[in-house]
């Protein structure tokens, strides 16, 4: 079991309070998933793990802020090594909504560089716009599919790692590629940055809400003006 700040290379999970922690290997993307639904947490966790991400799943915005060290209390002394590379949060949650969490993250000088993705079962253009305006990286219509997670991972990897291989046997040290702790993560790939397509049709009764798996997701509007 890892102690004294030494990060074990083997994947183990360790429960501390209500957090389920996996030791972070710095090359892997560490995602903080926030969802009040137990079913959805289990699914998103699996989707992320199968996509080679480290996952911390919490059930509320408050716990997310605690984990991020933003709750105003004496904080994340124990969590220093566990840098979060992406926050993916449900929109509709009791207490603090995903939108409110997004705002808090973007208002924080220490955390606002972290990309935030919103998930929602409602494909409502106004809601999507609001989130993107507030600095959300992307908006995924639930139910979340593997292709959604793959898409997220792709642009995060491309963006932070500049194409260097970091999976598989030859794990490279971060110093050989851009260090995610220093590079702003929210620069998106070269397709036109301010493509203001309106969002896809809202068809709430369809069984296949639109989450196309290509780069031109209509729900994505690439905003370059995240952090000023």
């Amino acid at each position: 079991m890892a102690r004294n700040g030494f990060v074990s290379r083997r994947r183990m999970s360790e429960k501390i309070d209500d957090f389920d922690l996996s030791p972070v290997e710095s090359q892997d993307v560490h995602v903080l998933a926030v969802d009040d639904s137990l079913v959805d947490r289990k699914v998103i966790e699996r989707l992320l793990r199968i996509s080679s991400c480290k996952v911390t799943a919490v059930d509320s915005g408050r716990r997310a802020l605690q984990f991020l060290g933003l709750d105003g209390e004496k904080s994340s002394a124990g969590f220093d090594g566990l840098k979060v590379d992406l926050i993916i949060t449900d929109y509709c949650m009791p207490g603090m909504t995903g939108y409110e969490l997004l705002k808090k993250v973007k208002e924080s000088s220490t955390l606002r560089e972290i990309p935030v993705v919103i998930m929602s079962s409602e494909n409502v253009l106004a809601r999507i716009d609001r989130c993107l305006e507030e600095g959300a990286e992307d908006f995924i219509v639930k139910p979340v599919k593997l292709s959604d997670v793959k898409r997220l991972k792709d642009y995060m990897m491309r963006d932070d790692r500049e194409g260097s291989q970091n999976k598989g046997i030859n794990k490279r040290k971060l110093s050989e590629s851009s260090d995610p702790t220093s590079s702003p993560p929210s620069i998106l790939p070269s397709s036109s940055p301010s493509q203001s397509q309106s969002s896809s049709s809202s068809s709430p009764s369809s069984s296949e809400p639109s989450s196309p798996n290509s780069l031109d997701s209509p729900t994505r509007r690439l905003k370059m003006t995240n952090s000023v």
């Binding site: 639904s37 079962s121 709430p204 069984s207 296949e208």
Partner: protein, 151 residues
């Protein structure tokens, strides 16, 4: 035809029928794709969580709709959760009733809500039965052979 082949055939037929009859949709297939040797019980685990969650929500709905003065927002909140979790596992028919249910909540239609509650209970117990049957078939096949056919 040996028993393994027979069971495989039964499993495929049964699964196909569930999709054809609208009990399950593509999201269920997504969950199956997330299952592998490292997580061999993933689908059963998620579905079990769905069962627990749904039963809790249905009880809450019973309580909420039994009140003198109906709090539609409270009812809607429970239905929203049920809709979400049924959608996440691909329980299409449950999800569909939830959509109608939410419309009645918004319209503050008591009769409509009560009918939907009955209907959603019905659809839930149907899909629960179907899934449990499916899992039993899978177990039989596993026992007979040690692996489940991939689609």
């Amino acid at each position: 035809m040996d028993s393994v082949t027979q069971l495989q055939g039964q499993l495929v037929d049964y699964t196909t029928s569930l999709f054809n009859e609208g009990y399950l949709n593509d999201q269920y297939t997504q969950l199956q794709q997330l299952q592998d040797e490292s997580n061999p019980d993933f689908v059963v685990e998620v579905v079990s969580l769905f069962f627990e969650d749904s039963e809790r929500l249905l009880n809450e709905l019973d309580r909420a709709l039994d009140q003198q003065s109906l709090d539609f927002r409270r009812v809607d909140s429970h239905v929203h959760q049920l809709k979400g979790s049924s959608s996440s596992i691909g329980a299409q028919r449950v999800q569909n009733v939830c959509i109608v249910f939410r419309n009645f909540c918004e319209a503050q239609n008591v009769e409509g809500c009560l009918q939907c509650l009955q209907q959603v209970r019905h659809e839930y117990s149907l899909v629960k039965n179907k899934l449990e049957t499916l899992f039993k078939l899978e177990q039989k096949l596993l026992a007979a052979r040690g692996s489940i056919p991939t689609q």
